[in-house]
């Protein structure tokens, strides 16, 4: 009677009790077939242990770090996006009157005569709304001016300075996004 597969494997892995181990050794001394089976298992173990590691094709440090740091990235993006939106709004408010005048000239040439009265009403409505909005802004600006003067009496804090700081924030925002795009995740 030969050793069964389970016993032979547990003998190989040194998991048999002392008594069972002694019995297995006695049997192996006497049984060439079981010695051959054990030798095959030992050869397999040696082959597995000799299997070389394969080189990793790509470094995983940056892709992994990009995936484990999403929280800080999104926080930064939120701030930068808010700053950029503010800067963009300030820019549009500054250039819109000139842009609107230029566009109106071209629009007058493009609109068919039948639609001209309707277009004139529409532009008039825009103008009226825009004028109202500018008036509101002027009131706000005057209030802010007063507030700034009260806060910074005697200092150099002025509106041009505030606008310059806003523009700088815009540039920093663009640079910040550029930095954040340096380590995109490699995985699709």
């Amino acid at each position: 009677m030969h050793l069964d597969d389970s016993t032979l494997n547990e003998f190989l892995d040194r998991r048999l009790t002392r008594a069972s181990d002694r019995q297995a050794r006695e049997h192996l001394k006497a049984c060439a077939a079981c010695r051959t089976r054990l030798a095959a298992l030992e050869e397999l173990t040696v082959s597995l242990q000799a299997l070389p590691d394969v080189r990793l094709p790509h470094d995983l440090v940056h892709p992994v770090l990009a995936r484990v740091r999403p929280r800080s990235t999104s926080k930064w993006l939120t701030w930068l996006t808010a700053l950029e939106a503010l800067g963009g709004a300030a820019l549009i408010a500054t250039i819109w009157p000139r842009l609107e005048a230029a566009l109106a000239t071209y629009a007058a040439q493009l609109v068919p005569p039948t639609l001209a009265p309707w277009a004139a009403t529409l532009v008039g409505s825009w103008d009226s709304n825009w004028a109202q909005w500018l008036a509101d802004i002027c009131v706000l600006q005057a209030s802010a001016d007063l507030w700034l003067r009260s806060l910074t009496a005697g200092s150099v804090m002025t509106w041009p300075l505030v606008l310059t700081v806003g523009a700088a924030a815009l540039v920093l925002g663009a640079l910040g996004n550029g930095v954040l795009l340096r380590f995109p995740a490699r995985r699709a």
């Binding site: 032979l8 494997n9 298992l41 173990t45 597995l48 470094d59 892709p63 770090l65 484990v68």
Partner: protein, 188 residues
Amino acid sequence: MDMESSPDRDLVERTRRGDAEAYGELVRRYQTSVFNVCYRLVGERQEAEDLAQDALVRGFQRLETFDADRPFGPWIRKVATNVCLNALQRRAPWNLPLDEERDDPIDADQPDPAEAQERRDRATRLRQALAELPPHYRAVIELRHFQDLSYEEMSRALALPLSDIKTHLFRARRQLARRLGAADHASG
């Protein structure tokens, strides 16, 4: 002490305190062995690389559960094994051809060309035979022979009764030996 000479334990502690760069150093140290666990289990390089990345991200997310008194390498390799087993369970057919032509084994020494070629051929046959095993057999071979786990540890890692582990292991070895015997016969 700089990052490269820091022991794993310090890097784990620094990662837990929010220093993602410290985890980057752990990734640098263990990415090749994690990739090789995945490659032996899934048998396909690109998928192995993706799963290695997933495993390293999972390791970061579960770092709180890691006992810093134990070595980090075996732990992260077990995480990789579980990630791969989950992936294998989701995948229907598992017999994918190995991309051996591009395999680049890490050799400590440089034997003569004929011996090197013989080693490569042997490794190719062994990897092919491993890839042809059913996933649960591949898993027990990986845990026993490459990660050196005891039967009890394998039982816990795979959530299987000890009796199943023994049966899977000796059947996996038998199938592997037969496939290798057939491959050797075919190539010899």
